[in-house]
């Protein structure tokens, strides 16, 4: 008996793909569970035998002594049956536990694989990817760091219950009702008939619920991401929120989102609860019909339906204990239905994210030996689309040791050029050649080993300043680099000095101080090429001169210096200017 599902082919295919490597283990677990379910008829037979025996003896009454007929049930027989029931029950529990263990281990492996894949994909996302109203305004919001983290931590685990509960329930549904009917049929064809009529109603109902359940789950998944996204941004902006007295508005915005998530979650639960209530109802009605038939048969009111001489008490008890087990797998399946719906919604999420055309970085972002050639940079006919705008760059030939200022009005593509040179995004047309080889998947990590970046937007890792200054772990003394960048007193002022931890955007530092630390990091790395994005933007003239001097000292030591800037003094100090024309942006 299979359950018809809504045509959600692609999500189902994705879910099948996820569980394919563990298909054998999952099936083995389901089989063990099936074995556990098959024990119950034995227990039922034992109970029927005891109760029938006891009743027979009671009806036969006090005549044992007179007739000399031995009673059917002795104390020893009763105790033996009790022991047998307990042993079988324990065996069933053991088999179930074993099955659950197998299933969980397999589901856990699936979770591990999928989580690893999501994280690996996140790591390969191009640096300008989230800046892309052009790469899809809706996806820009969906792919916030918090939403991605919610996918990894909150949503992916939805796979586990679907695999541990739904799959085995499906196997039981396919096997157990048939087994029960076959066991019941020799006892009473009427009971078998009742079960056969009541049974198929359930899958019919489930098919109706199925679509609603998946849709509700999908909405819940979206809302989980949205709430996380809203929250992370507000949490990062709490100072601004205080300054604008926007606390109450922020709370009510968040309350609306949290409430929306509650409503979505309740919608999922309501469907789950309702469907299991309806199934329980079907099951209860089916069992009640069996019970009524058995009751009247035992009383002798009904004389049809059993083979031969009517239903005995033992047979009645046996049949009645089996009837609920006919419905139980169906109810289990219904209970697991919303697990399945959640997993499908998740699979849909994964499929959509995988299908999305997100800009990718080149290479892995791993430590690699530097490319052997001299760090010459050649650009030919390079263009790229950012924020829906196509930017074409002029051809360039930059010999090692070049000092180049990239200028032009805001939004003309200065930062984009730096990202291209660092392999943080890929050129759509044209070629970039670095150190004598094409900048591609294979060469990018080696190229970046010779690179240092002074970014425009500050994001400090949650690590000690010493580690921030020396991300590659070269272990060199930062004193000289700090001095060259005019940042020695910056570190000296921090509580704990080099051991201090900075806020995410450099709280505890002024903008100029943060910038000087980043320049020091570039100098300390001993890079052959330094890419700097507005390195003097928020510095006073004296400090700006110091930073410029620091960068130039690296250049004098032979490093290539490519600086996006508005600062005319810095442009003058660098000597060569590449002015990006606004008309290149379409």
């Amino acid at each position: 008996m299979t359950i018809a599902t809504a045509p959600s082919g692609s999500a189902e295919a994705r879910l099948r793909l996820a569980q394919a490597p563990q298909a054998r283990a999952l099936r083995a677990g389901a089989m063990l569970g099936l074995c556990a379910a098959l024990i119950w008829p034995l227990q039922a037979a034992l109970v029927a035998w005891v109760l029938a025996g006891l009743a027979t003896d009671v009806v036969a009454g006090q005549s044992f002594a007179a007739t000399g007929v031995a009673p059917a049930m002795t104390l020893a027989a009763v105790l033996g049956a009790g022991l047998g029931f307990a042993v079988l029950g324990a065996l069933q529990a053991a088999l179930e536990s074993l099955a659950a263990g197998r299933l969980f281990t397999a589901a856990d492996q699936v979770l591990a694989t999928e989580r690893g894949a999501v994280l690996a994909r996140a790591a390969r996302r191009g640096v300008h990817a989230s800046q892309g109203p052009g790469s899809g305004a809706e996806s820009a919001a969906a792919a916030t760091s918090a939403a991605e983290a919610a996918l990894v931590v909150q949503k992916l685990p939805f796979l586990v219950p679907a695999l541990t509960r739904y799959g085995p329930a499906r196997w039981r549904v396919m096997v157990m009702p048939a087994v029960i009917v076959m066991l019941v049929l020799p006892v009473s064809w009427v009971v078998a008939l009742i079960l056969l009529i009541a049974g198929p109603l359930i899958p019919l109902f489930m098919a109706l619920v199925g679509m609603a359940a998946k849709e509700a789950s999908q909405r819940q998944m979206v809302e989980i991401g949205d709430m996380n996204s809203l929250l992370i941004d507000r949490l990062s902006a709490l100072t601004d929120i205080r300054l604008m007295d926007a606390g109450a508005r922020t709370l009510s915005d968040f309350a609306a989102r949290a409430e929306a998530l509650r409503v979505r979650t309740m919608a999922v639960l309501r469907i789950a609860f309702l469907s299991s209530a309806v199934l329980e109802l079907f099951a209860a009605l089916g069992v009640a019909m069996v019970a009524v038939y058995v009751g009247f048969s035992l009383l002798g009111t009904l004389r049809f339906g059993a083979w031969g001489s009517g239903l005995s008490l033992g047979e009645g008890v046996f049949v009645l204990m089996l009837a609920p087990e006919f419905f139980r797998p169906l109810r289990d399946l219904a209970a697991a239905w919303h697990d399945r719906a959640a997993a499908l919604a998740l699979a849909e999420d994964l499929r959509a994210a995988e299908a999305e055309d997100v800009p990718q970085v080149l290479g892995l972002g791993a430590l690699a030996p530097r490319l052997p050639g001299p760090p010459r940079i050649v650009l030919r006919a390079v263009s790229v689309t950012v924020s829906g705008r196509r930017i074409a760059f002029p051809d360039l030939d930059l010999a090692p040791g070049t000092r180049l200022a990239v200028t032009g009005p805001s939004g003309v593509g200065k930062s984009t050029l730096l990202a291209l040179l660092a392999g943080q995004i890929r050129a759509e047309t044209g070629t970039i050649e670095v150190a004598g080889v094409a900048l591609d998947e294979a060469s990018a990590d080696g190229w970046r080993a010779a690179l240092a970046l002074v970014p425009q937007a500050v994001h400090f890792a949650d690590r000690a300043v010493a580690e921030v200054l020396d991300p590659r772990g070269l272990g060199e003394d930062p004193a000289r680099a700090l001095a060259a960048a005019g940042a020695r007193d910056v570190v000296a002022r921090l509580p704990g000095g080099l051991a201090a931890r900075l806020g995410e955007t450099g709280a505890g530092l002024s903008g100029g101080e943060a910038r000087r630390l980043l320049v020091a990091r570039a100098l300390l790395s001993g890079a052959a090429v330094i890419l700097a994005d507005e390195p003097t933007a928020d510095l006073d003239p004296e400090t700006a001169d110091a930073v410029t001097e620091g960068l130039l000292s690296a250049a004098r030591a032979g490093a290539t210096l490519i600086v996006a800037t508005h600062d005319s003094r810095l442009v003058a100090a660098l000597g060569r200017e590449l002015r990006l024309p606004p008309e290149a942006v379409v």
């Binding site: 029950g89 604008m244 309350a255 329980e280 791993a366 080993a449």
Partner: protein, 548 residues
């Protein structure tokens, strides 16, 4: 434990009615289950007896079978109602709990806010609160319902079957189930805490990886971070597997307890029948009720396995707040003729710093004046602005707004009159209009458009949807200069009397900077402005310049 207790009391206080009803229905579900099976067993056995003995005419079939139907339907309805009520109530309470945590986070001292890492606070508001949904749903309610039902069952079975059977069944479940469940709580403590901590690390790490990925890629750290995350995932899953093992073991123990108790009821009942103490129908009742009562303990293992995690989460959610000074509620009257802002004899030193940043610092900002503070980076310009905005408290000295001490102004009043644009203002994901709406209670598109024009941002946004231009996380999608100007536009919408600007035109070219400053002046003609700056364009537009 006390934090968990506090959370429970909070949830109960918020949702008393629903939870009480849910608790009553929980008991009804368990009791109806036991009654249903017990009655069915009794009914069949009694019918069989009556049939065999030929007394079928005097046997009342209808009342028991009506009872079976009532119990079956009633149990289904009660379960549905109970699930709906308790889940609804718990989820509602959790929304409130999230808001409580966020509100407390928002009240934190300004320096703590600036240093806050978004991911960590996110963990508290999302993960910790999520962890607490099991407190009512999987722990307290099922535990209470189980205890009440078992006690009731002991009495009823004692009366209907035999006191020994009642004692055996209730005692067996209470003792066997209790022992198994206590083991779960004890054994599950460490893995449940470990799993949660590792998952929170995973969330934090994922956020940091994505936010910091530019640096991580260039400096070759991406694979390292991925490995850190893989380690966190590994630890979380290992702990989850351990927890699953513990739960399964408990399931095995509880299944065995249930089989043994039911078998005991069968054997004891059978023995009593053999000795002629009770009838076979009563024995059947005892056995089937015992079978159904397994439900009283089986639902508890998940809740108890999570207990450790809940305790830690509750401690995070209920963390005591640092005491804050009582905020004034009454607005002071501006002193006639007083300067917009005056700083008198300020002293400020960072903790652990040798030298104070400011010592005996005085400054007066006259009404309508543009005053620039200049000085090299690190001389305390930003500190002066943060002090003037009330984000920092001076070690000595007093700051007055319109002649009244800053501390006497209620927060809302202070923020309506005075606005600071810090060096690194934060934007949020959403449209440009969403960002501007943060500044005012009633968003007004015309005013917003005017403000955007004033900071010379209109043209840059025009091709991207204007006010409806969508920004990514933290306002990504705008260049540094555009970000800066949007933040200034936001400040204009606040229409402050006193505007504090920290390097307002950072990242703008000379021409744009001049246009932005002129636009600011035109948009806020009456404002008194204090700016920290070293740019010629900014210094040129000031009425007065003070060197620090």
């Amino acid at each position: 434990m006390s934090a968990l207790w506090q959370v429970l009391r909070l949830i109960v206080r918020l949702e008393r009615r629903s939870l009480w009803r849910g608790a009553v229905l929980s008991v009804a579900v368990l009791a109806a289950g036991a009654a249903l099976l017990g009655l069915s067993g009794w009914f069949i056995t009694a019918s069989g007896l009556a049939g065999m003995a030929g007394i079928k005419l005097t046997f009342d079939v209808f009342r028991p079978s009506a009872g079976v139907r009532f119990l079956a339907l009633g149990r289904t309805a009660a379960r549905y109602g109970e699930r709906l009520l308790t889940h609804e109530a718990t989820l509602r309470a959790l929304v409130t709990l999230r808001l409580v945590v966020l509100a407390r986070q928002m009240r934190a001292p300004s320096e703590a806010l600036a240093r806050l890492r978004g991911g960590a606070a996110l963990n508290r508001i999302v993960s910790d609160v999520d962890a607490l949904d099991g407190l009512t749903l999987r722990l307290v309610l099922p535990l209470a319902a189980g205890v009440v039902t078992l006690a009731g069952a002991a009495v009823m079975l004692g009366w209907l079957v035999h006191p020994l059977v009642g004692a055996l069944v209730a005692g067996g479940y209470a003792l066997g189930g209790g022992l198994a469940l206590m083991r779960v709580a004890k054994a599950g403590r460490v893995p449940s805490i470990t799993a949660e901590a590792a998952l929170q690390r995973l969330r934090l790490g994922t956020i940091e990886l994505l936010r910091g990925r530019s640096d991580l890629i260039v400096f070759g750290q991406m694979q390292d971070r991925l490995q850190d995350l893989a380690a966190a995932d590994h630890e979380a899953r290992a702990a989850a597997r351990a927890l699953d093992r513990i739960e399964r073991r408990a399931g095995l123990a509880l299944g065995t307890v249930s089989a043994v108790v039911a078998a005991g009821a069968l054997a004891l009942g059978g023995g009593l029948v053999v000795h002629g103490v009770i009838g076979p129908a009563a024995a059947a009742l005892g056995f089937f009720a015992a079978l159904a009562l397994a439900e009283t303990v089986s639902g508890l293992r998940r809740g108890l396995a999570e207990l450790g995690r809940m305790q830690v989460a509750a401690a995070g959610v209920m963390a005591p707040e640092t005491a804050r000074p009582v905020a004034p509620t009454q607005s002071p009257k501006p002193v006639p003729g007083a300067p917009a802002l005056s700083l008198e004899g300020l002293r400020f030193a960072r903790p652990e710093a040798v030298r104070p940043v400011l010592e005996g610092f005085d400054l007066t900002l006259a009404r309508g004046e543009w005053l620039a503070l200049r000085g090299p980076s690190g001389t305390g310009k930003s500190t002066v602005l943060a002090l003037a905005a009330g984000l920092l408290s001076p070690g000595a000295g007093v700051i007055r707004l319109w002649g009244q001490p800053l501390a006497d102004w209620p927060e809302t009043d202070l923020r309506a009159r005075l606005m600071l644009v810090p060096q690194r203002g934060a934007l949020i994901a959403g449209t440009v209009m969403d960002n501007l709406s943060l500044a005012c209670a009633v968003p007004d598109r015309d005013r917003a458009a005017t403000a955007v024009e004033a900071v010379a941002l209109g043209a840059a946004l025009a091709s991207r949807g204007g006010l409806d231009c969508r920004l990514g996380e933290g306002g990504t999608g705008l260049s540094g200069g555009e970000t800066r100007r949007l933040i200034l536009a936001r400040a204009i919408l606040r229409a402050p009397e006193v505007l504090l600007l920290d390097e307002p035109t950072e990242g703008l070219d000379h021409d744009t900077a001049r246009r932005v400053l002129a636009g600011l002046r035109a948009a806020l003609p009456k404002a008194s402005v204090l700016l920290a700056s070293h740019r010629a364009a900014e210094l040129a537009c000031a009425d007065r310049v003070i060197a620090l």
